[in-house]
Amino acid sequence: MSRLPAGRLLLGGVGVLAMAYGVVRILTDTKDTKPAALLRWLVGTLLVHDVLIAPVVIGVGWLIGRALPPRAGRYLQAALVTGGLVSAVGLFLVWRQGKYSAASLALLQRDYRRNLLLVLGLIALAYLAGYLVEVARTPRRGDQARENRVNVRPPADQ
């Protein structure tokens, strides 16, 4: 195995030390950190992403690629990427909305269901507009063929 350059070794070494510091502090203050529950959460969040979120995202993308014509599929995928990322934050707000009694908190007092739908609607409109503009700009296949025929016609006798 080739030797690592000193800079990378140093960077990695600092990383290991920082990691060790965090882990040791977590493990030495068990009353406050509850390591067993913490570990369950760490593994749980990893599993939720790797087993649930990522496969669903990749599966939906694959389905769209199969089911729709390439250009429409690309626009739908892009819209779902943008909208999905916004929802990744927005759905937490919708979920927790209305769970706080004190209005003075000013916490989650908006109508997040309506707001999220509004933002997602605007995103959908933006991509739809982009798609329609691109469709309008591209000559239809029939036109293209006709144009091609015009272009390939041999020059008239002169």
Binding site: D32, P70, V86, S104, R110, V119
Partner: protein, 377 residues
């Protein structure tokens, strides 16, 4: 040394993902942005942590008075924007989860283990951080300590990851981002644009809780800083703190202890010469709002009991619990005001009536409310 127990080819049921447009060109670019964002969160997080326990010889400065407002606003908004950013980053390397063989040797196992630590701690840190902003604690541990120590794990495993992957990162950044779709679907450029749009929309619709000018588009900000009583939100009401009765009691007194002891009734506090200031309430949960305050100069009181600008002053609240006291030294002490009025009106009991602390560049939970005792050391 290769592990010979595993077959050369992956077994039939092993998941197979074509890399498609995923690859170093995309990963390195998203990763660079995410690395910078994590760096911002780590540094601003350390600054916030320092607010709670500053060293005696290095007190929190009073200037700029909006310092904590800026750094904690950055911390929270950057952290929220990291959620979509991290999802894009993880998507861009997901096929690598299923490389065959899964482990090539001891070093490779360690490296993969450190990536698992990085991913788990990052997702954990962002999700629990968001829950904290939403004051939602479905776990048995103390959020503040775990969030602080876990940040060392995140940053440590990130540095290790960068050290291991540096050649791949360099190659990825040198590679062009192609417009052409490798298979059916988005091109690399398309993924970057659509993902970037998602991150931008999240940031734009939440930043209004720190930047008042952007509040009209803050459709997804958890807080509305202009909405509370007297134009300022209340994080902990008098009822929740259990001080309503004591704060309104005719027996209420504020005592100031130094070389001698001074005692004030509410009427005497209100009769003291007033100073005016404009300072923000900047909450650790990321929202902030500038407000006008009127009250008594803390340093004046400190001097009247024999203290000076170099004293260490501890203020005590009527409430009991984690934030019942806080301390001031140095330039924060010089500029601190014991406020009786907020935005031109007498403090309401939820805002800290009869009197509360307000000082520049200071975390909101340390702007102690319902003061009853001041110690000058």
């Amino acid at each position: 040394m290769p592990i010979t127990l595993l077959p050369d080819a992956a077994p039939k049921l092993w998941p197979r993902f074509a890399a498609g447009v995923r690859g170093p060109a995309l990963t390195a670019r998203v990763g660079r942005l995410l690395g910078i964002a994590f760096g911002v969160c780590f540094v601003t997080g350390l600054l916030s942590h320092y607010q709670y326990a500053p060293w005696r010889w290095l007190p929190i400065p009073a200037a700029p008075y909006w310092g904590y407002r800026l750094t904690q606003g950055l911390h929270v908004i950057t952290g929220i924007a990291c959620i979509p950013l991290l999802l894009v980053k993880l998507w861009s390397v997901f096929h690598r989860l299923f490389v065959w063989p899964p482990v090539r040797g001891a070093l490779h196992a360690l490296e993969r283990g450190s990536v698992a630590v990085l991913v788990a701690s990052s997702v954990f840190q962002l999700v629990t951080g968001l829950f904290n902003i939403l004051q939602f604690y479905p776990w048995p541990w103390g959020f503040i300590r775990v969030h602080y120590w876990m940040s060392w794990v995140v940053v440590g495993s990130l540095l290790l990851h960068v050290a291991v992957q540096l050649p791949a990162i360099r190659a990825g950044l040198a590679e062009r981002v192609t417009r052409e779709a490798a298979t059916r679907g988005l091109s690399r450029r398309g993924v970057l644009l659509a993902g970037g749009a998602g991150v931008a929309v999240v940031a734009a619709t939440t930043v209004g809780q720190v930047v008042p000018a952007l509040e009209p588009v803050a459709l997804l900000s958890p807080r509305e800083p202009r909405r509370g009583p007297l134009g300022v939100p209340v994080n902990r009401t008098a009822e929740a703190a259990g001080v309503t009765r004591a704060a309104r009691s005719p027996q209420y007194r504020l005592s100031v202890h130094g070389n001698r002891v001074l005692e004030f009734t509410v009427a005497q506090l209100e009769a003291e010469p007033a100073v005016h200031t404009s300072l923000p309430i900047a909450c650790v949960e990321g929202w902030s709002i500038q407000a006008r305050w009127q009250g008594i100069s803390l340093l004046d009181l400190v001097r009247r009991v024999g203290g000076s600008a170099s004293s260490r002053v501890t203020v005590h609240s009527l409430e009991h619990g984690a934030y019942a006291t806080s301390s001031l030294t140095g330039s924060q002490l010089e500029h601190a005001v014991l406020a009786t009025h907020l935005n031109g009106q007498r403090l309401s009991v939820d805002h800290g009536y009869p009197i509360r602390l307000i000082a520049p560049d200071r975390a909101g939970v340390l702007q102690t409310k319902w003061l009853t005792r001041i110690e000058v050391g």
